[in-house]
């Protein structure tokens, strides 16, 4: 087995630890006075964390030259979707008790719910097209464009988190800073060659003009 395989075998159960802890605490009545709120917060937090880890893989790979890291990205990304689904399920089942009427009103009337719902829906096509077959079917560049939806989803998810809170915004701000760095890196990587080539071209033109 390759190194990535082994790593995945180790990381997979590690990614399930947050869920395991939740189940354990629920079973032993240790989720505090408001267990549903505790579950909502925990699954939401882990969704964001996995999204950010997913987004950190490409910069890490490029900066360290450790190419094998890319082999972990799909799994981590799918765990983001997994925890996002649990978060969504917590909302529709534990929080809203499957009341379609009250959920419809919620999504329509509450911007923070609308945003959370949007962030989750945006992840669905990504999860669906995460298989090797789908990548081949879509073709690399198109697949890559589609998967840039994760930038939108993560941004929307953080705004959703901010609007869900009463006042103390330090945690969404922390997430926001990490996301800013990860997206900022991409902008720089994209912009630097563009700027550099423009400069080169400008210099070439200037040289030609000078001749």
């Amino acid at each position: 087995m390759t190194r990535t395989r082994w790593l995945k075998l180790a990381i997979f159960p590690a990614c399930l630890v947050p869920l395991g802890l939740l189940v354990w605490k629920a079973a032993t009545a240790n989720l505090g006075a408001n267990p549903i709120e505790a579950i909502t917060h925990s699954t939401g937090d882990w969704t964001l964390r996995f999204l950010l880890v997913t987004l950190a893989i490409t910069p890490l790979r490029k900066l360290t030259g450790q190419l094998w890291l890319i082999g972990l990205r799909r799994m981590i990304g799918l765990f983001a979707f997994f925890y996002g689904s649990l978060h969504f399920l917590t909302y529709i089942w534990l929080d809203q008790a499957f009341s379609v009427h009250s959920m419809a009103k919620d999504v329509y009337k509450r911007p923070f719910i609308t945003l959370g719902f949007t962030a989750f829906v945006l992840l669905i096509p990504l999860a669906m097209t995460s298989t090797r077959k789908m990548i081949q079917r879509l073709g690399g560049p198109r697949w890559q464009w589609l998967h840039r939806l994760i930038y939108v989803s993560a941004t929307v998810a953080i705004v959703h988190f901010t609007w869900a809170l009463k006042k103390d915004h330090h945690r969404p701000i922390e997430y926001g800073i990490v996301l800013g760095v990860l997206l900022g890196y991409r902008v720089v990587v994209w912009a630097v060659p563009v700027v550099a080539s423009k400069r080169r071209r400008a210099a070439a033109i200037a040289n030609a003009a000078g001749d």
């Binding site: 629920a26 009545a29 989720l31 505090g32 006075a33 408001n34 267990p35 549903i36 709120e37 089942w93 534990l94 008790a97 009250s102 009103k105 919620d106 009337k109 509450r110 911007p111 923070f112 609007w163 869900a164 009463k166 006042k167 103390d168 330090h170």
Partner: protein, 325 residues
């Protein structure tokens, strides 16, 4: 005034001897045994026994009016699920961070538009009027609720002592400002000290109490020790904690949450299912009463004035409650 039939039993009678409390004491003791912290506390105890014996001290109470036969929120939940931003914005933070909060010596200054301004020592406050058990519903603006057996007496008993002047129309409450003891005050989450306010007629209403305990014991620090107000028909944040100053004034005072987000938290903040928080509905609430995980999935409808409409609705007769939320 119509006073509803009180519940038949004092909370000290209903409340079972809480085995968990002694367990907690034991666990805390075990965890700290040998630690220098314990040694320090011991010294403190020897030096000034009264100072460590505050929270949890048994209070002798009489049965008060306005009971409810709803299931009480377990003591553990009342004391570990707290919004007390002076300590932490996490609900399980205050129970940890308030452990060493000093509630003695403690004074409450009552001043402003009054005939006889006076500074009350906490021990005078405890003796000012008979301590009553008041089992109230407590509705948080966040959408959860509890049923809590508070101990206290009408706020009016205190206010009458200082003889408010005719000009006095409002009452302002100030929570202690002590960032050394209250780590939350070192962050600018809210503008400290915490301020709250009531119209004078609201403050004089028999439902409004000056509260010094719960479950028949002195207030735990995380619940606003040593003295707070409790206003069961308003969202929880109106019930200011750890009060050091009460001022009678002519104009509507500032209240901290209103100042922080005027569109979300009004001056009145009466519980009202018809006026949503801009970001969430206030139609229903999740009751925290120890009934277990699956029972808590079902939310219960929120009632106008938190079910105390018979008592307080006339205070707001003719007012547009959508405007004065």
């Amino acid at each position: 005034m119509l006073i509803k039939k009180p519940a038949d039993v004092a909370s000290s009678e209903i409340t079972p001897k809480r085995a968990y409390l002694s367990r907690r004491t034991f666990m805390v003791g075990a965890a700290a045994a040998g630690a220098s912290l314990l040694a320090g506390r011991r010294l403190l105890e020897m030096a000034s026994p009264a100072e460590v014996a505050q929270a949890g001290t048994k209070l002798s109470t009489v049965k008060g009016p306005f009971g409810t036969d709803e299931k009480l929120t377990p003591y553990k939940d009342v004391t570990t699920y707290n919004n007390f931003y002076e300590f932490s914005t996490d609900k399980d933070g205050p129970s940890q961070l308030a452990k060493d909060f000093r509630t003695r010596p403690w004074q409450v200054k009552v001043e402003g538009l009054v005939q006889k301004p006076r500074t009350f020592d906490i021990d005078d406050i405890l003796k000012l009027a008979p301590l009553e058990d008041r089992i109230y519903r407590h509705r948080c603006v966040e959408g959860w609720s509890m049923v809590i057996p508070w101990v206290g007496y009408p706020l009016s008993s205190l206010l009458k002592q200082v003889e408010p002047l005719g000009k006095a129309k409002y009452v302002e409450f100030t929570t202690i400002l002590d960032p050394k003891q209250m780590p939350g005050q070192r962050m600018r989450v809210l503008d400290w000290p915490y301020l709250e306010g009531l119209r004078l007629d609201e403050a004089m209403h028999p439902l409004a109490i000056l509260c010094v305990g719960l479950y028949g014991e002195a207030l735990p620090n995380q619940d606003g020790a040593p003295v707070r107000i409790v206003l069961p028909w308003k969202y929880g944040f109106k019930s200011a904690k750890s009060i050091v100053k009460i001022r009678l004034v002519e104009k509507q005072p500032i209240n901290t949450w209103n100042q922080a987000a005027p569109g979300e938290y009004g001056f009145y903040s009466n519980v009202n299912p018809d006026v949503d928080h801009p970001r969430w509905s206030q139609r229903t609430e999740r009751r925290i009463d120890g009934s277990g995980f699956f029972a808590s999935i079902k939310k219960i409808p929120t009632r106008p004035f938190n079910g105390y409409g018979d008592q307080v609705a006339q205070l707001y007769a003719g007012m547009d409650l959508r405007k004065y939320y």
